[in-house]
């Protein structure tokens, strides 16, 4: 049984007069422990699809099952609890709370889940150690670098040891070094903790860290490639596929030269 099972999902925005179809009938499956990438040009519907899988948004029609459970019609309250306990998120713009310190930002999901102080402290130590954030725990988001911010966001996403981690363009605002670092962490999490990761990106370098990539165009799945050999070879494959899709693709992305 796949961990995520998306069946013929549609998402239509707007009112009668100005309808926008963001997702037009997508079906896909993600197995436990996978590291899946979703690629496509800007406006293809990647974020919309991810948000629906992450139960943040509801499909207009179709069905999404997570761990065998249909999440499409669950109540807001149940979904909130589910997200709190089972899912982790990393966003492009980090979404750190400016009023909270790094430490407080990271432990936020655990306090929301109502865990006890010793449990929270232990989880914090582990996460912080893994991501190398010990020195900046007392600082505020305004006082740290962009790379550090994204690592904090990552820490917040994994501290509750979610079985599923969603990342929407996590490297979008990072320089190549910080991006590489973050992607290594994600790979570690995926391999060591067995966390299933779904990552949206339009950047070929980032995508090359995934095991499998789904290409989306105009709200539908265009094709799919699976990594077999080295990451460098996979990267070339991604570039080629982007060229095939065209239209807003990012074959000459900022990291192309850094390989």
């Amino acid at each position: 049984m796949p961990l995520i099972d998306v069946h013929d999902v549609h998402k239509v925005y707007g009112h009668r007069l100005s309808l926008v179809t963001a997702v037009a009938g997508i079906s896909l499956a993600v197995a436990q422990g996978e590291f899946v990438g979703i690629m496509g040009p800007s406006g293809a519907g990647k974020t919309t699809l991810l948000n629906m899988m992450a139960t943040i948004d509801r499909p207009t029609s179709g069905q999404i099952k997570i761990a065998g459970k249909d999440v499409t019609y669950l109540s807001e309250r149940v979904l909130a609890k589910f997200r709190r306990e089972q899912l982790g998120f990393i966003f492009q713009d980090f979404n750190l709370l400016a009023a909270l310190t790094v430490r407080e930002n990271i432990i936020l999901p655990l306090t929301l889940a109502g865990l006890k102080v010793p449990v929270i402290e232990e989880a914090l130590q582990k996460t912080v150690h893994l991501l190398g954030l010990t020195a900046i725990l007392a600082r505020y988001p305004d006082e740290i670098s962009i790379g550090q911010k994204q690592r904090v966001a990552c820490g917040r996403a994994i501290i509750n040891q979610p079985q599923l981690l969603f990342a929407d363009e996590p490297t979008g605002s990072l320089d190549s070094q910080a991006a590489t670092e973050l992607l290594r962490y994600l790979t570690t999490i995926n391999q060591q903790l067995g966390t299933t990761i779904v990552l949206v990106t339009h950047d070929a370098f980032t995508a090359s860290y995934c095991k499998r990539i789904l290409f989306i165009k105009d709200g539908a799945i265009f094709s799919e490639i699976v990594r077999q050999g080295s990451r460098q070879a996979f990267f070339q494959q991604v570039i080629d596929m982007q060229a095939t899709i065209g239209g807003g693709g990012n074959a000459n992305g900022p990291f192309t030269t850094s390989i």
């Binding site: 909130a80 997200r83 998120f89 966003f91 009023a99 929301l112 865990l115 007392a138």
Partner: protein, 680 residues
Amino acid sequence: MVLLRLAFKNARARFSHYLAYVLACALAITIFFSFNVMATTAKFLPAVAQQQRVRFALLTTSFFIVLFMAAFMLYANLFFMQQRHQEIGLFNLLGVTRWRIGLLFFLENLLLGLVSLVLGLLLGILLSKLLAMLLLRLLDITLATTLLFSWAAVGQTTSIFLVLVVILAVMDASLVYRHRLAELFRQKPPATSHISIWHYLGGGIGLLLLGYAYWSAQNYSSVVHHYLFFGSTAFMVLPLLILVAVLVGTYLFYQASLSLILQLLRRHKRFSYHGLRLVTLANLAQRLKRNGSISWLVTILTAITLTILGSMTILYAGTQSVLNDEQPVALTVEKQLSAPVKKALVQARIPIRTTQTARLKVVSARFKLRSALALNYGAYVGPISVIRLTDYHAMQQIQPDLPALTLTEQQSVLLIRQVSNAGQASHQGRLAIQLNTPQIKKLAVKQISHVFPYGSSNYVGETGLVVSDQTYQRLAADAQTQPLAFDFAHTAKSERVSKHLAKNYGQREWQFQPTTNKANFANLHFQQLMHPVTENNANYSLPLLNVRYPRVHDLRTLFGLDAYITGFVSLIFIMATGSIIMLKQLAEAAENRSQYALLAKLGLGRHAVRQAIYSQTVVTFLLPVGLGLVNAYFALHILNVWLNQLDLTFAYIIGLVYLVVYTGYCWLTANAYYKLVQQK
């Protein structure tokens, strides 16, 4: 015109945002208009006694309303401008000339101002009758009022507020015009900050100052003894010290103590690692910091208005008790003037319930009271009126609150005014009074009383002595008076007749002149001069006729007018400050939308979000008023110690009204905030 349409659209889109502002303006306009129409409507005011005074009070108050409104509108406008920095910058980037942006803002402002004005005037026309009736009621006047309206008042209101609005609109437009682009896109400085040594220091000092002030105020009468090195001014110095401590303490409380407390709470993991508490605490720290100055202002102004209201009632109650001391009886008149007075009363068909008379002997006396406070009676040398015990007890029929006495021949009861004795311990130890009469030189004072039979205005030197009948018999007096008391009910007619009598006979008085040098008590006697005497050249005088009910009426009028004006001014004040706090919160809501969106993504239910928003809003709103109430409580406590145990009910009621209005604002704000945050 495109610009006008755009301005109109903008104003409409932001109307919900501006609602609180518009309502506060409209309310002020309503009150301004009503006061004005009352002051200028010819058929309304002439009916009011003391009309000059009422008119003056109404006009002065409306002047202050304009001043206050100008300050409020200026503040709100600057705030709106700050909110719209980005928008202005954007317009500018899009190639709209600054002149046109300025004009756009000018038009928007004008529209908002016009809406407030029309709303305020309509409400004013509808409500002015109600407000007038309330005033008449408080002034104790029965008068049928019609709908109040005057074009002059409409014109005045319109022109004053239009001038205000235009000035502000021009100011806004010129601000926009002069702004540099970079400045408009300037980011807000981060509201987060670490706790420094200054927070510990300032926060600690703030709390200590507040604690010191409250403790000293609560224990004023005993604490004041530690300040006696200031001499007799200690009684003024201590309240001043307390006042300064409260002002500075409150300021430090908002600037440092609160941040410190919230930070310590955040560090206390067992407390803060719980649901949304971390976020709530952090947001609160941010909000309270941003609202620091306005919160301080609200706290202080709340305290000041409540203290004024409270002391007003204290003064009223004080004046009331002075009246009760001086003239507890409907009418007292000297025997030889009683025939025409009685005739007038009978002619007016006023049912006289009881009459009572007594002979008071005037003698020279000397005594000395021990006192704790500087406001003391000290040593007294002068004439006093002596009443015998039988006459004293006979008066209980009219004055049931006269305490019953028993006296031996060597004892007496000293009657002194309550105000002269303010704040003194009534226990005086062994006290004696010396009299300058051949038979009796000295009497023991068994006790001191503040209740005068016939009222203190019938006693020479406003000082009296009750002695046993035997002692009275032996007393050789310098002079004698014979007051006659008439007891009748307070009705409009009896009040009118009393007033008339007071007008006819109120000028006549006994005068008492020392016959020898006052310094030599052994020779001191008082000579009673012939009446009527109008020019006052004697040291002591006693009116031949005293009436109570016109004075009761004046007192009510005085208090009613003050209560009316203070009530409305404080209403405008709470509306204005409430809407400023509300505006600030709502502006912040837009800023915090992404925060709550994130929390929802992280799995926070709507219920928890709502709860967090409510608790933050409640603290932000009710903290300043709450602290203001606490400050006012202690201020009134001191005043109450000074002015004796008097009534504070009115101040408490107004305090409650403040709380209720602010709670209403708080509820509105929390709801609007929640809606703004939930908007996708």
